[in-house]
Symmetry: C2
Subunit: 682 residues, 2 copies
């Protein structure tokens, strides 16, 4: 065309693209949460399968690696394998506690590309003399890299192989072809790849690795002040120590205590939440702070710091971790109210703003004003409180109402505490809207309370647990299911009697790898509400001391002990990864299975949700998915009733009578004969 | 507790969190592609519905805005409305071409929170004197902001209302309550919100706004050299101008020309791809470059630059845009081979590396080496080529094999060109793996060729178009469906005769808002392959001149004209947003509908995929979803046969006989009587 055409001045490529020769792109890495904004969660010993799309322009071969950064900064790499359709998969093991990182790195593998083409040329009987020279150039490039990396031996050998390719060894052309296609050259080339234009995925994705207890835990909540064996005497840490054998015998491994701090006196609530307390009323443990101290102090009637240390130690001896309640709010008598008046909102009349849910007023509680100009000092003080209890041996915190404090505060606090103490765990007690609950889990809470308490029908339970097991939610939200709490006595328990308690216990303990009960109210079947229509307990321990008859003949302790033993013995119940619901043709019967990651342990749970009537239904199992040969009989061992049945085929009839036992926890295995055959083929 | 406990030194909150009082979080903004890494695509005049999760800690009210940045930098905001479950929705209109940005901004609305609580207090007959003072403080804060913003009137009025709330106007308390709950105060407060701690979503999401042609276009491809009306004479641009009325009459609005540059002589291919060309063979247009010039030159036998300008102008007069083929590769005779030898890969024997797909060799084509050290100069030169043709009036480029050039190159090039010329469009001719095709669309190509040509069964077509309409793919990938191309004569067309051509044309034109045909081969039913089992045409225009008898009686021109008219008249066919497949109980009958965004235009297409036999099936329509009253008869106007039927209810029997017409394009409307009723309720 000849004539000059004016080209408008515009961006230079280098302004936008530092290296235009980086040809591989990486997309859709899994697992991840919000594009890497938040870490995924795992426990020590887990293997994480990572997948990614990686591809370049054209048709060159790729090399793809999974890059793992351990918390100590150590970098290790494993090759990723091609799954087809430009998808790649690799695996990394996370053994150490803390924040690990992972990325995908990929580059054009010029040698692999050349070698593949070369094979086709040889197969087509083409003249490959020039191609051998190209291969030799590639080998010489690798030799130089090897030498620079200090692998002098590899470098020398690569140069020798390059000479063979060039035919400079005096050998025949076929010797060059053999060397070109040999495994030795391929291995050496793979050891010294040209990664100068590799693509590394951004941002680094992170995984928080917790102790196994973060995933699999059995919680027991009790009020220490109600552990006294003498009527009217305030319980002490020594009484709690005396109760530890009972808790351990039930099979729990976390003992959660409501706040143990001094309790405010002004606006103190009396029994059943009356606003007129008498001097002998102990008050609500969540109204924290009095003359004796605040969040860093122990209620004088419970004991001393040394008593607390003794409790932590005695629990640990029995395999029990203590979980402390963290409720960041103050009673009007908290030392902060005088010392840090600016941490609370002031009303125009000069008083401190109390908690409200208009028109209701909670004058015994002052919330912190996290919008205070002094927010940095407030955050630092609350962190001091946490570290103080951590230094006394507390490794688990049950955080009260985290959803009423800023998200940024929790994200900072938890990251900060886990930076030095990666074993510390946090349970979020946020009974609020789902997205708020999920955000708290994303930003760092190790476990979360759930809506389980209010999910009572077959559809509700199925939908909810399918939602919780759905990615990416399942990557960061670890449900902890409670049939009751001091605040929630669901009407199902109020009206369902003993079968309702058993059903809810079995559901919690088998649907969720972590669960808890508020006892002894739970095992003793406490079921009377304060008023009709409320979920509050009558004579709740929140407002008064209680004594419990642990030896009552109707106690559910034996059942609970059995269920917790089954949980310990069966890996299937120790994670939520492989939960599947199964068809059973009665609306009050719910059936679901869990499997261990290796598929060797299968637990099938069936619960009759109707506490008043026996129910019969035909259960349909996807036997092949459960690893059962549909052509052979298989064993079903009822771990609660301790009976064994032999079932045939996918459809079997089940009856559950609540007057005997409304639930069955079934260990499903191939029958002995099938198992022998099965082993033979492993 | 008294005793000092050592707190380990750790991060200061301010290191991690600049503003700890920013309490709102924003998540899950839709639409977006890869977290904002790539823009979504729209055309001028579109309204974009944006949704986001936004929530704070606690229970305070939020204000949420959708922030829109126009290409000229103008910022505008619209309120987003709460959908429940912490989801918010807003809408923005994109009128100008270019890259727009959008974000979500949200903050705690203290006044709205206070007002909601205040109403509850008043309803509960509480003393609200202190609350009125709090309200007055909020109003005074807004007054100060109003004054600072230059809204002195608002500021004065807010102060007056604050006085009313305080009861300082000498009025009664009830006057304060009235003012507090009045719309005037609410309106003024909403105009002057406290956004000092607002949260603004990161990163800014972008939308590329193209001309409507980017979404709805009808392409016609022809070889200019075959437009001569005299046997053996090489066609010219003047011949193409003479052909424009024909193309316009068929209803096409894009005329796509294969490369128009000088063609290489060395290794030139002869008819039917033989490697022994005679001097009179014209060569392959994609073997670009000869003594007469390269990518910036015009093939001497086609005409001059002025002839080209005349063609662009003549096309524009007929509402036709010219699309130019951009094939970034060179023949051995391209001037670049001498001038920029370093833009090609050299072989150890000193020759230039030709294209290969081992063991096949394409010695007439030299690919650019995008890994050249001189990549910046190569990129700049290719941009110069593009701008040169843009300056000659080309606004559409059909890019040949973009998947064999680096992704980063295209992303830079397209962004660069569209920065000054946002109306320019790019069609990606990447017939390769799906993720590569999708990546090219993400990084900027306006439209993309598809696998449509190879999707011939009902299941294949259904699955594929559902995949293409699936978010987020539908946000960035605009399919352009072709029943044939110079490289692809599918065996369905080879064996199906005229009914196959009609079926494929109707499918392309109604499944995809953009489609194209390679003519006149298509409308003249050219169906003979070069060899059995190949998709190459016999005597393909790629290698030789052809003359076409446009007046042949068997030409499909009349049908094509009708289909294109229907496309222009029916908004339903001008986007892919509302495509739905419908049940019809014959495996060879496929039925689907499209609706306009406003739901007023519904086109139902039914195609018999069996070119040899009449097929009958019962069609089942979801009438309510299509806006048809299931209780009333409705009209079905066949736009191809020009007949009207009255159908009753969702199930109707359809017969299509390929010997008459294998397809029906039906305009579905409520019957006249129903329509009158319908209008009454609008």
């Amino acid at each position: 065309m000849g004539q000059a055409v004016s080209v408008r001045a515009n961006t230079d490529p280098t302004e936008a693209v530092a290296e235009g020769r980086r040809r591989v792109v990486i997309e859709s890495i899994w697992p991840q949460v919000d594009g890497g904004r938040f870490p995924i969660k795992r426990v020590t010993g887990d293997a994480i399968t990572v997948e990614a799309d990686a591809f370049g322009d054209g048709h060159d071969e790729l090399a793809v690696r999974l890059v793992h950064r351990a918390p100590d900064g150590t970098i290790s790499e494993t090759p990723m394998e091609a799954l087809g359709n430009d998808r790649w998969r690799g695996e990394l093991s996370v053994d150490g506690l803390g924040r690990h990182g992972y990325r995908v790195a990929a580059w054009i593998d010029r040698f692999a590309t050349w070698r593949g083409d070369f094979e086709k040329r040889v197969a087509a009987d083409q003249d490959v003399s020039v191609d051998l020279q190209i291969g030799a150039q590639l080998a010489e490039g690798a030799a130089a890299r090897a030498a620079a990396d200090g692998a002098a031996g590899d470098g020398r050998r690569l140069n020798e192989l390059a000479s063979e390719l060039r035919g400079e060894d005096g050998g025949s052309g076929s010797g060059g072809v053999r060397a070109a296609l040999g495994e030795e050259l391929a291995g050496l080339m793979a050891r010294h790849p040209d990664r100068s234009r590799e693509t590394v995925s951004e941002p680094e994705l992170e995984v928080v690795v917790d102790p196994p207890l973060a995933r699999f835990s059995s919680w027991y909540e009790l009020f220490p002040r109600s552990t006294s064996t003498e009527a009217g005497r305030h319980g002490t840490f020594a009484d709690v120590i005396a109760r530890l054998d009972y808790v351990a015998d039930l099979g729990f491994d976390v003992l959660y205590l409501p706040p143990i701090h001094p309790i405010g006196e002004r606006y103190r609530k009396g029994p059943n939440n009356v606003t007129t307390a008498t001097p002998s009323d102990p008050g609500v443990p969540w109204a924290i702070g009095a003359a004796a101290g605040g969040h860093d102090a122990i209620h004088p009637e419970l004991g001393t710091v040394d008593d607390f240390r003794a409790l932590v130690a005695a629990a640990a001896e029995r395999g029990i971790r203590l979980a402390l309640d963290i409720a960041f709010q103050a009673s009007p008598d908290h030392p902060y109210v005088d010392d840090h008046r600016d941490w609370f909102r002031s009303r125009p009349d000069g008083t401190v703003q109390y908690a409200e849910n208009p028109p209701k007023k909670y004058q015994d509680i002052y919330p912190f004003d996290f919008e205070t100009a002094d927010w940095r000092e407030l955050w630092l003080e609350l962190r001091r409180v946490m570290r103080l209890w951590m230094d006394l041996g507390v490794r688990i915190f049950r955080v009260d109402n985290p959803h009423t404090k800023p998200f940024a505060f929790w994200e900072w606090l938890i990251a900060d505490l886990k930076a030095t103490d990666p074993d510390v765990l946090f349970l979020s007690e946020a009974f609020t809207r789902p997205k708020v609950m999920y955000r708290l889990a994303k930003l760092g809470f190790s476990q979360s309370y759930t809506y389980f308490t209010w999910r009572n029908t077959k559809d509700e339970l199925t939908d909810y647990f399918l939602e919780l097991n759905r990615p990416p939610l399942s990557e960061f939200f670890r449900p902890n299911a409670w049939p009751n709490t001091p605040d929630i006595l669901h009407e199902y328990l109020q009206h369902g009697g003993r079968p309702a308690f058993i059903a809810r216990h079995v559901l919690a303990a088998t649907l969720a790898a972590s669960y808890g009960i508020y006892g002894p109210a739970f095992e003793l079947g406490e079921a009377t509400p304060r008023d009709p229509g409320t979920e509050e307990y009558l004579d709740s321990e929140k407002y008064q001391l209680r004594r419990w008859d642990l030896d009552a003949p109707h106690s559910l302790a034996p059942l609970i002990r059995t269920v917790n033993r089954v949980r310990r013995e069966h890996p299937a119940l120790q994670s939520n990864e492989r939960l599947a619901f199964h068809s059973i043709d009665d609306e009050q019967l719910i059936a679901y299975s869990k499997q261990s990651a290796d598929g060797r342990d299968t637990i099938l749970t069936i619960v009759n949700l109707d506490p008043h009537h026996a129910r019969t239904g035909t259960l349909e199992l996807p036997l092949a998915e459960l690893g059962i040969d549909p052509e052979r009989p298989f064993e079903v061992h009822d771990l609660l009733a301790d009976t064994t049945l032999l079932w045939h085929g996918p459809r079997n009839v089940v009856e559950l009578d609540p007057s005997r036992l409304p639930a069955a926890i079934l260990d499903v295995r191939p029958s002995v004969r099938s198992e022998a055959d099965f082993d033979q083929f492993m």
